[in-house]
């Protein structure tokens, strides 16, 4: 037998020692969703698409989604801020760059995200802006008519979107003490989860029927990729060291098995994939059910990974 008794402080005994609560998963989800919107809308801009309606809409080539992404990432940063224990010192993030720290990369990526989102909004300014500041209209029209600018903005949005999406996963993989997280595959997993949640939302919100169909189709591809990445993630853990195997056991019979397979994989990926596959082949009508499941599944994925990761440990006996 091997038995270890420790007098060390432990978050399982003293709740005040917990590391991360709801704030971080919410932040990671909103960051991933914003990343997905940036990639999708960036792609539309890169292709030179344009929504001819006189007001901003939720189509990919308009600015409604950029505006929502702006709000989402700001809410995410608020959640992140709420998690900080030394809030007044938050500016310390921006007086240094620590190349080994994904969190430092993230802080600077977030700074890049804002101007790109703003540019996306200005290319199709909402009426509230143009009505209030009509002097801006000629300039904004000139910007919107400039195809090169649209394409460059699109490219920038794709680039920063991918960086943001991957960073939300790499943030966790760099924390080597938690075997569940020590896999770079969390980067693509969170990116694809963000893409699928963004495509699901845009499919639901888009005013164009053909675009809705298109978004449902690519959402299916994102969901299928996400499923494959989840499986690779588990294969990677189960073929590694004992500590990683134990971490995988959290999902393979351990405490998180039901919520992971039923909530995240079943309801969040497989079921909406089936519904949307039937919908794009016109065997069932499109309903908001699948998009809602995808979005909640994306949120559940962050909660499960952040929470289970904090339990996973290197074992010392």
């Amino acid at each position: 037998m091997s038995e270890l008794i420790s007098t060390a402080q432990s978050p399982w005994v003293d709740p005040h020692l917990h590391v991360w609560g709801w704030e971080i998963p919410v932040y990671l989800f909103l960051g991933g969703w914003t990343a997905g919107i940036m990639v999708l809308c960036g792609w539309a801009l890169w292709k030179g698409q344009r929504d001819e309606r006189p007001h901003a809409t939720f189509s990919l080539a308009s600015s409604g989604l950029f505006i929502l992404a702006f709000a989402a990432i700001s809410l995410g940063m608020l959640a992140l801020f709420l998690d900080l224990e030394h809030k007044l010192f938050v500016w310390r993030l921006y007086v240094t760059f620590e190349p080994a720290s994904p969190m430092s990369w993230g802080a600077w990526i977030l700074i890049l995200v804002y101007p790109v989102l703003l540019m996306g909004i200005l290319l199709d300014p909402p009426l509230t802006l143009t009505n209030r500041v009509p002097q801006l209209v000629p300039l904004l029209k000139k910007l919107a008519d400039n195809l090169t600018l649209r394409r460059i903005t699109g490219l920038l949005a794709i680039g920063t979107g991918v960086a943001l999406g991957i960073y939300t996963g790499i943030l966790l993989s760099a924390l080597g003490a938690r075997p569940l997280w020590s896999s770079a595959i969390l980067g693509p997993l969170f990116l694809f989860s963000g893409l699928s949640a963004a495509a699901a939302f845009a499919h639901w919100a888009s005013p164009d029927q053909p675009e809705r169909e298109y978004l449902a189709k690519i959402d299916n591809q994102f969901l299928a990729s996400e499923l494959a990445i989840v499986l690779l993630f588990l294969i990677g853990l189960t073929t590694s060291t004992e500590a990683h195997l134990q971490a995988a056991q959290l999902f393979l019979g351990g405490a998180y098995t039901a919520v992971f397979w039923v909530g995240v994989v079943g309801l969040g990926i497989v079921l909406p994939l089936i519904i949307q596959s039937l919908a794009v082949t016109h065997r069932v009508p499109h309903t908001p059910l699948a998009p809602v499941l995808v979005i909640l599944g994306g949120l559940a994925l962050r909660f499960v990974i952040v929470s289970a990761g904090q339990i996973s440990h290197w074992s010392r006996l």
Binding site: M1, T7, L84, M103, R178
Partner: protein
């Protein structure tokens, strides 16, 4: 370059927790938070059991994940002796370092910054031993420069079998336990 570390004799340690109390007194750590602790590992099959008692704390790792992941540089390797330290005024309390330490050596101080064992930097700078080493009634703890071939810690490591805690985590701990 000096490399400060600890060598602790598990054969002598009786688990009296004097080191834990000394640290709490010396560093005035808040209620419910400790920078060092004792582990009692029992192995074998009854009646052939063996007990290993260890006084543990931050390992001042040579490959410290807590330093690598810190976004502000608050967690850093001290310019003397390789000790891992935290600059309170630079810490934003993001807890990345807590999540990255395999030994759970860190906690968030009620004032908002990450905190942990400093090897009693304020004493070591004056040439004294850390408080835990100084009070140990069995003299099982030794502190010094691991790079100095004439130091007591180096001689002990060169002459006795020893281990570190969870070396497989890849952190290269600088606290060694004699067997």
């Amino acid at each position: 370059m000096a490399r400060l570390g600890m060598v602790i004799d598990t054969v002598r340690c009786v688990g009296c927790m004097d080191c834990v109390v000394a640290c709490k007194t010396e560093n005035q750590t808040p209620e419910g938070m400790n920078r060092d602790w004792i582990t009692y590992a029992t192995r074998g099959r009854y009646p052939d059991l063996s007990l290993t008692i260890q006084s543990e704390r931050c390992n001042h790792c040579d490959n410290p994940p807590c330093v690598h992941c810190c976004p502000t540089g608050a967690s850093h390797v001290h310019d003397w002796g390789g000790m891992v330290q935290i600059t309170r005024e630079e810490c934003i309390g993001c807890k990345a370092c807590l999540a990255s330490c395999p030994y759970d050596a860190r906690y968030i101080h009620p004032d908002g910054y990450a905190d942990k064992c400093t090897f009693c930097l304020h004493r070591v700078e004056k040439g004294e031993d850390p408080a835990c080493v100084a009070v140990c009634p069995t003299h099982c703890m030794h502190f010094g420069d691991l790079d100095d071939p004439h130091s007591e810690v180096r001689k002990l490591l060169d002459s006795r079998r020893h281990h570190t805690v969870m070396p497989e985590a890849g952190t290269r701990p600088q606290i060694f336990f004699l067997e």
